[in-house]
């Protein structure tokens, strides 16, 4: 009897040892400056989670940039090999992917959400991996707090400040502002800074924050609270789909309120989901120039789209964001290689901090990006747009707080 169970057990052990050893990873990425191995980058993307509506085009933009750049000869003759996986906006999934990328020997990581970027900021600091993400939360710009995080756009807080400046002007100096935010670290990021800004500037604006319950089918309840507050302006820090619902509810209720969308709802997707009539007149704070506003930085994108046979009309701002976030990373890597340094996370970080302005063809905040050893805030300026006839029309380029 024992003989049997023993041989089964031994067989099992042998089989599992075989499986386990097969799981061994390989060391890609890094290496000498003059090697021609591909440069491996890990991408943590939200394709199917709570922010997948803008996360998917963002990811597509990144992959498109990599394809374009590789077709163009890569970075200093080396191809970019990106691993991209969906984490469904769940922090533990992001952590698991991060560990996988570290193990695979990536030299840099492109992340997505605020919660997971913050959760990983300690680890990327210790593992010395430059990390850019779709999150523009203020704490990530401070190298003392998050040494390897780089923020490629004005922070949510800066965008909120620009929004409040605009509201102050538009309202003639007094009014009530309701802030509707995603109920997560992403949504909460600019809320307190906005309140402080009103106090600091001495604006005569009422300021009240409301968390938007996840998965809500309508926001009539929240709007009635905002109405009780007397709000004429609703600043939304959320992704496009829920923001579009708010716009629809405002229209359906016949309320006299103007939406000011920050970043992730300030895009064509918001206008299209709400409908051009409903979106008409709402304000969009968007640091990345949409395709409809032609900037020099859109040229490589147009080139690429033409080669791919894609209609530029179908390309939203989130896609452009992904493209240029990857561009910033690629420029840092290129500088490291040009300088003849070994391609490590620490060297890429140093390049990003010391290389001076990164040209974005006026796409990001109407100017270049620049990082320094004291600040990883790439830019403070953002465009202000208005939804007019279903298009994003530029009101102001390069607005700063």
């Amino acid at each position: 009897m024992f003989g049997k169970s023993r041989s089964v057990a031994v067989a099992l052990a042998a089989a599992s040892a075989l499986v386990l050893s097969a799981c061994g990873g390989d060391d890609g990425g890094g290496g000498d400056a003059d090697s021609d191995e591909p440069i491996s980058i890990g991408i943590i993307a939200d394709l199917s989670g709570a922010t997948g509506d803008v996360g998917t085009p963002y990811n597509q933009g990144m992959l498109a940039y990599i394809k374009w750049r590789n077709g163009d000869g890569g970075i200093e003759g080396r191809q970019i090999a990106a691993e991209s996986n969906d984490y469904a906006y769940e922090v533990p999934q992001a952590e698991s992917l991060y560990k996988q990328y570290v193990n695979d020997g990536v030299v840099a990581i492109q992340g997505w959400g605020t919660g997971d970027t913050e959760a990983l900021s300690g680890s990327v600091g210790k593992d010395e991996l430059p990390f850019m993400s779709g999150s523009f939360a203020e704490p990530l710009t401070d190298p003392a707090e998050a040494p390897y995080n780089f923020v490629v756009a004005p922070t949510y807080s800066d965008q909120m400040r620009v929004a409040l400046n605009w509201i102050n002007e538009d309202s003639g100096g007094s009014g009530e502002v309701a802030v509707f935010h995603n109920d997560s670290p992403f949504g909460q990021a600019p809320v307190q800074d906005g309140e402080d800004w009103v106090a600091e500037k001495g604006y005569d604006l009422g300021y009240q924050a409301y968390a938007m319950p996840a998965g809500s089918q309508n926001y009539v309840g929240l709007l009635s609270q905002a109405q009780a507050q007397g709000a004429k302006y609703i600043v939304i820090q959320n992704v496009a789909s829920p923001a579009a619902l708010v716009a629809k509810d405002i229209a359906a209720q016949g309320l006299d309120m103007k939406i000011v969308c920050l970043n992730w709802c300030a895009n064509e997707l918001f206008i299209d989901s709400a409908g051009a009539d409903v979106a008409e007149g709402h304000i969009l704070i968007q640091p990345f120039a949409p395709m409809s506003v032609e900037k020099p930085g859109h040229e490589p994108i147009n080139e690429y789209l033409e080669a791919e046979g894609t209609d530029p009309e179908t390309i939203g701002t989130s896609w452009v964001q992904g493209w240029y976030a990857m561009h910033a990373m690629a420029e840092g890597i290129e500088h490291t290689l040009v300088e003849g340094n070994e391609l490590t996370g620490a060297n890429i970080r140093e390049s990003l901090e010391t290389m001076g302005p990164i040209d974005t063809g006026e796409v990001i905040g109407g100017g270049p990006l620049e990082f320094s050893a004291d600040s990883h805030r790439g830019s403070t300026s953002t465009g202000i747009y208005q939804a007019q006839d279903g298009m994003m029309v530029e009101l102001e380029a390069g607005a700063t707080p």
Binding site: M1, F2, K4, S5, R6, V8, A9, A13, S16, A17, L20, S21, C23, G24, G25, L47, S48, G49, N85, D86, A88, E90, V91, P92, Q93, E95, S96, K99, Q100, V102, N103, D104, G115, D116, E118, A119, L120, S121, G122, S123, K126, D127, P139, E145, S184, P185, Q188, Q192
Partner: protein, 356 residues
């Protein structure tokens, strides 16, 4: 005592009390030990990180099983209790500056106390009603750590960065050895957890837990102090859960509320249901299974992506669906979980060629 084809026969009380009775059991124990010792040398860092996640899950699942599986008190507050352990240990060690082992110990005690507090409704409530009461503990704790009123917990940052684990002059190293060193620490703690939990149920206290589960009125009639048994069960269980929480904090080096949501409570419940309610080994199997499952699904989906692209596109949905299907399948086909399946496999081998 030797096993025979007809079963295991004990000839003395001591032999009955033994944890292992047959040579096959000792052999499997040896095999398991060798496997666990060899693991960090054959796995790469990524798989080791999964092994480490499993070891933490083992501690948490064993803790939960003490309460749910052994004492019959359903708890949906797992995530909340883990949060208590994680936040208190991170604050005690990093902000107040206590040595990490002491901080973890205090966190365990604090979580046990919080567990007792939220276990109080258990004195009056049973079954589904208690489940709802513990759900309240989850929601309350989650609310507190999420809103962080007065910025006491995270100092306005929204999360706590935890320093790399260091104690007695030893510090966990860089990314080459990080997972391996953690593996040894977590392995020791997980093994201690399993051994001590296993032994609780050989004592009067542990038996009183089971008596409460099986029939609380009868238990009271034979002299079990229900109040004491239930509250001790909450304390012991929450203590282990707090340990899992504080280890999560130090291992992942960041504490944010997003890691302690209701989903976590449900995941842990799923672990012990799939593994086997009322079985320490079951909790271990469940933790291994439920941690590996999403990983294996992802690998499978990636491998099949060329032939079945929808699997890759809809991966999280596929994963959730599989999760649900697995739990339902276990409830239907083997409510006593993986542990029972393993028992049956052993019996099959032992009794072969007879069926029983």
């Amino acid at each position: 005592m030797a096993a025979t084809a007809t079963g295991i026969h004990h000839r003395s009380y001591t032999s009955e009390l033994r944890l292992r009775a047959t040579r096959a059991e000792y052999f499997r124990l040896g095999l398991m030990t060798v496997l666990l010792l060899v693991l960090p040398f054959v796995l790469d860092n990524y798989w080791l990180s999964i092994a480490n996640t499993i070891l933490i899950a083992v501690i948490g699942a064993v803790g939960l099983n003490i309460l749910v599986g052994y004492t019959g008190q359903i708890s949906l507050g797992q995530g909340g209790f883990m949060a208590v352990g994680a936040y208190s240990s991170a604050i005690l060690s990093d902000r107040i500056g206590l040595p990490t082992p002491l901080a973890i110990l205090l966190a365990v005690l604090l979580t046990a106390a919080v567990g007792v507090f939220f276990g109080l409704p258990g004195l009056r409530l049973k079954g589904l009603y208690l489940a709802i009461a513990t759900l309240a503990s989850q929601v309350i704790i989650e609310f507190l750590v999420r809103r962080d009123i007065g910025d006491f917990l995270t100092e306005g940052l929204g999360y706590i960065n935890v320093d790399r684990l260091a104690f007695l002059g030893f510090e966990i190293g860089g990314r080459d050895v990080f997972e391996q060193q953690w593996y040894w620490i977590l392995l020791v703690l997980a093994v201690l957890t399993v051994i001590s939990a296993r032994n609780i149920f050989r004592t009067g206290l542990g038996r009183s837990f089971m008596a409460v589960r099986d029939q609380d009125i009868a238990a009271e009639a034979i002299g079990v102090n229900l109040t004491r048994a239930k509250l001790t069960a909450f304390a012991v269980s929450s203590g282990f859960v707090g340990l899992a929480g504080s280890l999560t904090a130090h291992y992942s080096e960041v504490v944010s509320w997003e890691k302690f949501t209701l989903d976590v409570s449900i995941l842990y419940l799923a672990m012990i249901i799939v593994g086997g309610l009322g079985s320490i080994a079951g909790a271990v199997y469940g933790a291994v299974f439920m941690t590996l499952l999403p990983e294996l699904i992802r690998r499978l989906a990636n491998a099949l992506e060329s032939t079945m692209p929808f699997l890759g596109d809809q991966l999280p949905a596929v994963r959730n669906a599989t999760f649900g299907a697995v739990i339902i399948a276990f409830l239907i086909f083997e409510p006593r979980g993986l542990d029972r399946i393993w028992q049956r496999m052993k019996d099959y081998v032992r009794f072969w060629p007879f069926r029983y």
